[in-house]
Symmetry: C2
Subunit: 180 residues, 2 copies
Amino acid sequence: MKAAKQTLALSSVYRLLEPGPVVLVATSHKGRANIMTMSWHTMIDFEPPIVGCVISNRDFTFGLLKASRECTINIPTVELAAKVVRCGNTTGRTVDKFKAFGLTPTPASHVAAPLVAECYASLECKLIDARLATKYNFFILEVVKAWIDPSRKNPRTIHHRGRGVFMVAGRTIRLPSRMK
Amino acid sequence: MKAAKQTLALSSVYRLLEPGPVVLVATSHKGRANIMTMSWHTMIDFEPPIVGCVISNRDFTFGLLKASRECTINIPTVELAAKVVRCGNTTGRTVDKFKAFGLTPTPASHVAAPLVAECYASLECKLIDARLATKYNFFILEVVKAWIDPSRKNPRTIHHRGRGVFMVAGRTIRLPSRMK
């Protein structure tokens, strides 16, 4: 289950997040690590890869991210769907989600927040702009290091449709595009 | 091909955008309408539905949106993929994309920008916050009216993986979630 991850070029990060997968955000502050489930994110720039995301001020992660100014974004596939939902149904205030759900924190290289070993890709992020955090719970992150399991050619990411309904990534099509 | 659309409750809009589909953004200013292809968007709040999106200052739509402060977001399915890519490969400065690609503009109810009839869902949007537009090309929109073709139960949306590679929405799974 645990992905053997290698470095991914920062210029390719947008190809992971642009399709809209549910992700796990891991944070750590003063030795306290947490995971949350998140679907409200978007790429903002290609390189360096800049990501915008919404983390509610009701979430335990909100305070950990504001205090540590770091996090990791980890991309799960459908095999992890039940654990992903459990991470979304609980709060880190009362549960150590890594232990409770059998997810493995491994050290990142540029941030104190852990990577989630079971996810096929992980992005190490620094918080670079929180000016919309108060009004919109919106954070802007820079990805400073990216990891991917190169053996996963067509990852079955999951995409939330609300109320526990998820679309699983289907077939791939190719069209002659000038888009990056 | 043209969707017979009905009103969708604004509280359900997040269920359309959260999975990360490629969308068509339509704008209109002084009688000049345009369409662009966009994948960099995220929900920001549930109700009223607030959406954040990145529209490059190199895109013709950037100026039309800033001037008119309105747009529509239209969600295509895989049958429209070739037209979606053509909209992304061209610029409205020199091409009337509605005419060139056989897409049908129909009147919206709250904004001057047209709906794209062929898309299974359309959202009428007002620009409410452009303070990050200069630095990040990031616009914050409020959805003021939503339309959907209720006959489309499992829409095969397309999700961009970069360089003309698209993931087509696959099967649906349900898990016991407390997430909205």
